[in-house]
């Protein structure tokens, strides 16, 4: 709905993807995030093993995959919340491996969480203000002199109010964040992430637990991010949403990227179908396989007869 009014960015994003190969790790014309050979093992289990993937600047890219594909672990690694065993990745050309989470956020790559993390006992407005960067009053000694940070605080408040207005949370500004509904918390978390001033917004299941009435408005907000020039990478299970808003889809299964492509055709890609439904789920049985199964069944029957006799 929002994107239709200003179709330029969407068209630009789609143009960037036109004619690209549908192979995993296909190079993009202007990648903001480039990931190389990232591996994460938990004991014997390899949770993530991504060979190469690029995220196009100014686009909305969806990261999908069956449960346990390693999407959230991959997210955690990219944003510094978990460490990678091997590999490297660059954001705007800047090496980010081993960089702690708060530095990743400062670099302009801000994430939200699958289980929303509203800061319950802070008001909605305080939640928003917290997102602003380079606050003078966050230094211990300057905090003691209110005059040194008041003006900046007023500017931050003004910016926060605009965002709250846009996300329809303005009426809640003085309520505790803990008193908001699940969907409102999702909105607050997204608005708070925008206070950081990110270039790349990483949304971990933005639609989980949101009632259908709010879904449309959340979708609109995600599209707006692209219209403002931000890049969005999100994890989602809801395929309707993926089809509706994403420009490009990356599919993970068993820790690896198995396919990429535009949202309208990706679900008919045989590799993706295999990943979701299991390989050979609908392949016709060959003559040899048929013969083999028949013999097995006969042998079983005979042995049973012998036992009874």
């Amino acid at each position: 709905m929002h994107a239709d009014t200003t179709p330029t960015r969407k068209a630009a994003a789609l143009a960037a993807f036109a004619g690209l190969d549908h192979e995993p790790g296909v190079p993009k014309p202007d990648p903001i995030l480039v990931v190389d050979k990232v591996v994460r093992r938990f004991g014997g289990l390899t949770a993530v093993n991504v060979d190469h993937v690029e995220i196009q600047r100014g686009s909305i890219t969806a990261l999908i995959g069956p449960n346990g594909a390693g999407k959230t672990t991959f997210f955690n690694q990219l944003t510094g919340f978990d460490s990678a065993d091997e590999g490297s990745w660059t954001f705007n050309g800047k090496q980010l491996k081993g960089v702690p989470a708060h530095r990743v956020a400062r670099a302009g790559m801000v994430r939200t969480f699958q289980l929303t993390k509203a800061l319950s006992k802070l008001t909605v407005m305080e939640n928003m203000r917290l997102g602003a960067q380079n606050q003078r009053g966050e230094n211990f000694f300057r905090a003691l002199i209110p005059g040194s940070w008041r003006r900046q605080e007023d500017e931050i408040t003004e910016r926060a109010e605009e965002l709250l207005e846009r996300f329809k949370l303005a009426a809640k500004r003085d309520d505790f964040a803990g008193s908001l509904s699940g969907g409102q918390r999702k909105l607050l978390e997204m608005a708070r992430a925008l206070m950081v001033g990110p270039e790349l917004v990483m949304l971990d299941e933005p639609m989980a637990g949101v009632n259908p009435a709010l879904t449309q408005s959340l979708l609109g907000h995600v599209k707006d991010l692209r219209e403002e020039g931000m890049t969005v990478l999100f994890v989602e299970h809801d395929m309707d949403m993926v089809r509706d808003i994403s420009d490009w889809v990356v599919v993970m299964a068993q820790g690896a990227v198995i396919a990429e492509g535009p949202p309208d055709t990706i679900m008919s890609d045989p590799r993706v179908v295999d990943a979701y439904l299991g390989a050979h789920h609908d392949a016709p049985m060959s003559a040899e396989e048929f013969e083999e199964q028949l013999q097995e069944a006969e042998a079983e029957l005979e042995s049973e007869i012998e036992e009874k006799a």
Binding site: A101, L119, A143, P146, G178
Partner: protein, 329 residues
Amino acid sequence: MDWNTIFVTTVKASIGLETVVYALAAIGVNIQFGYAGLLNFGQAAFLGVAAYGMAVTVATFHLPFWLGILIGLAATIVLAFLLGIPTLRLRADYLAIVTIAAAEIVRLVFRSVKFSSVFGGSDGRQNFSGDFFAMNPYSPGTYGIGPISFNERVTWVLTVGWVLIAIACGLVYLLMKSPWGRVLKAIREDEDAVRSLGKNVFSYKMQALVLGGVVGCLGGFLFALGQASVQPDLFSTEFTFYAYTIVILGGAARVFSPVVGAAIFWVLLVFVGNTLSEAVSAGLLPSLFTVNNIGAVRFMLVGLGLMLLLIFRPQGIFGDKREIALDAR
């Protein structure tokens, strides 16, 4: 029953040395636990190293009083870093385990025979408060209203103590209204969210631990100076738990709650204790109660009172009921 004595001692307890010491310790705990959510169960150790740092410098090594204060402060900060660096990156419970163990280690080192030439073993250290009382501006005599009065030495200790409490409360007020305090409160709610917003959580937790320790250590200095002696067993783990009780009694994350909490806690203890002992000596209680066991009965009754308070007013005296309601969601 001598109600007059009970009344006078109770009123004196509300502003007395124990109240001052526990209020300062509790202000420190309130910064760490109330605002930043850090479970520091070793607050007694912070007061202990400060008190001993000063006492040992003056009494054992015969160095100047102010150097003793500096060494006490430095010891507190070093302790905070020692405890914080390995644990603040981990989950909250690790800090609790490490601090409670460290507090016992500190106390046992102070009372050990091996170091008794330095720390004085279980007798502790005396003869270090001379310089402090030499600064006393009050001339000899008693100060106060009628029977509720103190001699010039106690008056001097209490004056310094209440000035320090006022400064500490002012500091907490300014900090917690600032963006710095906002980050601290946010860390208490959810560390990962704060990290995702570009704040260095470890650094803020360390600042809170150091600040809470330093405020608490002022209580350690006053404890030592007010009694003109330090003993290791003053700084046992129950000291820390009293400080926590005081914070929760007053209401966590409120500026004045540790001060009012400390006053109420000591008023209750002194009032119940004195009333019981007066009642025993007047033969008003059954023979089950003797002079020897009313000390324990006193704590039972105060404990009962605190339980009732937390059942009927879980947010403490100054707390906001809406915040407690959020926890239940």
